[in-house]
């Protein structure tokens, strides 16, 4: 089968729509993850999702149901317990280990085919059905809509919680809103890259964008672009060259961060030389 034949197959096309939706949502939410220094929370929610998916499989439900329930639950728990960013580390850590323990229990109870677990951990983008695409696209669109509507308050509460509270914003409510957005984004991103690689879309593009620009709106747009390009190129390389798509996406996203850091160092040196 030629490359163009491969690209026109239905499973590649499903994958294309799914990665597009996921990359856009993950890029936008990822900016706030980086800004709030809550990468650890993003990491934990992914792993909590693993327990949820394993539990759902054990009960004979679709993994995405378990993912949604567990990720949202953990998000709300972290959002309430760690509303002040100072105290969130311990809350996140405890939530993470408790969920992972549950995940181990669910897997040991489940005697069936372990492939489901494998795809949750590492992503299974080429197995996405048309129904999955619909759900993923709807959730991603919802996330993007909420982020764009609450962009300013989210930014304010993330940058300067004290002043935001003085101006009447509820820090707890903003923290809950953010964690809910993060949970839903994590659920959809897990469909593509899996629990272990969720950072590749959620943190790496946003971290690269934050290095490259100081304007928040530019950074959000740039993070979404980097995530989208990584996801599209990753899918293309996976189909063309072979190897897991999630590997390609992770490698490209991580390279974008590395490239941004190198570019920034070069730029700083250049400015220093100009000033000297």
């Amino acid at each position: 089968m030629s490359l163009s034949d491969l690209l026109s197959t239905s499973f590649v096309q499903h994958a294309f729509y799914a990665v597009t939706a996921v990359a856009l949502a993950a890029g936008a939410v990822g900016y706030f993850v980086v800004l709030r220094r809550q990468a650890f929370a993003a990491h934990a929610i992914g792993h909590v999702g693993f327990a949820g998916a394993a539990g759902a499989v054990l009960l004979g439900l679709s993994p995405i149901v378990g993912l949604l329930v567990f990720c949202l639950g953990a998000g709300l728990l972290i959002g309430v317990g760690g509303a002040s960013l100072d105290e969130s580390d311990a809350v996140v850590g405890v939530t993470l280990t408790a969920a992972l323990g549950l995940g181990v229990l669910f897997i040991s109870l489940y005697s069936g085919y372990a492939n489901a677990t494998y795809s949750i951990l590492f992503g299974q983008i080429l197995g996405v059905t048309w129904d999955d695409v619909g759900l993923v696209a709807a959730l991603s669109l919802g996330v993007l809509l909420v982020v764009s509507l609450s962009y300013r308050p989210l930014l304010f509460a993330s940058v300067d919680a004290q002043s935001a509270a003085a101006r009447g914003l509820s820090i707890r409510a903003m923290s809950l809103l953010f964690m809910a957005l993060l949970a839903i984004t994590t659920v959809v991103a897990i469909q593509i890259v899996g629990v272990l690689l969720v950072f590749s879309l959620l943190v790496a593009p946003a971290a690269a964008a934050e290095v490259l620009t100081s304007r928040p709106q530019h950074a959000v747009a740039l993070a979404m672009t980097i995530a989208l390009v990584s996801a599209w190129a990753g899918l293309f390389f996976g189909v063309w060259i072979g190897g897991p798509v999630s590997f390609w996406i992770t490698a490209l996203a991580a390279s974008s961060y590395l490239g941004a850091r190198l570019f920034d160092r070069n730029r700083v040196r250049h400015v220093r030389r100009a000033l000297a």
């Binding site: 764009s148 509507l149 609450s150 300013r152 308050p153 930014l155 304010f156 940058v159 300067d160 004290q162 002043s163 935001a164 509270a165 003085a166 101006r167 009447g168 914003l169 934050e210 100081s214 304007r215 928040p216 950074a219």
Partner: protein, 281 residues
Amino acid sequence: MRGGAVVLGGRTIWRDASFVVEPGTITAVLGPNASGKSTLLNLILGLVPLSEGSLRVFGQSPRRGNRRVGYMAQSRAADATSTLTGRDYVGLGFDGPRFGWGRDKTKREVIRRALTLTGTAAFCDQPLHSLSGGQRQRIALAHATVFSPELLLLDEPLAALDLAAQAEIVDLVNLVRDSTGAAIIVVAHDLNPLSSIVNQVLWIARRQVRSGSVDEVVNESVLSELYGHPIEIIVTPRGRRVIVGLEEEFAHPHPHPHPHGFEHNEEAHQHLSELYEEETS
């Protein structure tokens, strides 16, 4: 505020606070660490309830998000690593709390005015982490004064600044008062750099609040009573007042000061170990 008291988690922070802040005046809030200075600001912002007495802000009970009240939070370590530009941070003072897609056409002009007033226009497009501490405080002041507030609350604006930057910020605070006619309340741990512009002092110590002019509050009998420990004020040849706590032996002359005397009074000593200087007018 009349007869105000704050109780948080069953602990009385302070009580019997009565004072009035007039427009166009600067009030300094002083006292040891953790004496409830920032709590006073949170009270005015409507973030903390008053347990006793009454507090009126422009004739009304304090409420959250009042645009007539500007607030500058204590500078945090996060500023030093923030990649946000000064202009974006000031912009959050304008429409940061607002949800939705709408853009306010007056935003650009309002922000330009705040940047001009605080002298920050030249460096407002640089990321906050690349600015000096004094520059960051100027940006924070622009953020707090975006709506030309009639009451401006500043929490430790001079903390972690060198002497030159402190003087710069004090001048700026004075300028803001003169050009906007706002009433300004400044929380500080040291009266000295502020003394030239302060009209009123609120001194919080040992759960009490004393208010009055600098002369009324910064004298030996009032401070001794506040701290529950004898205080001596030394006037330097240039007319500055240095506030010191007296050692146990001076306070209660005793031929053999017992060995536990110091430990016993450790808390009072801690309060008094800071020196407060004050210029006489």
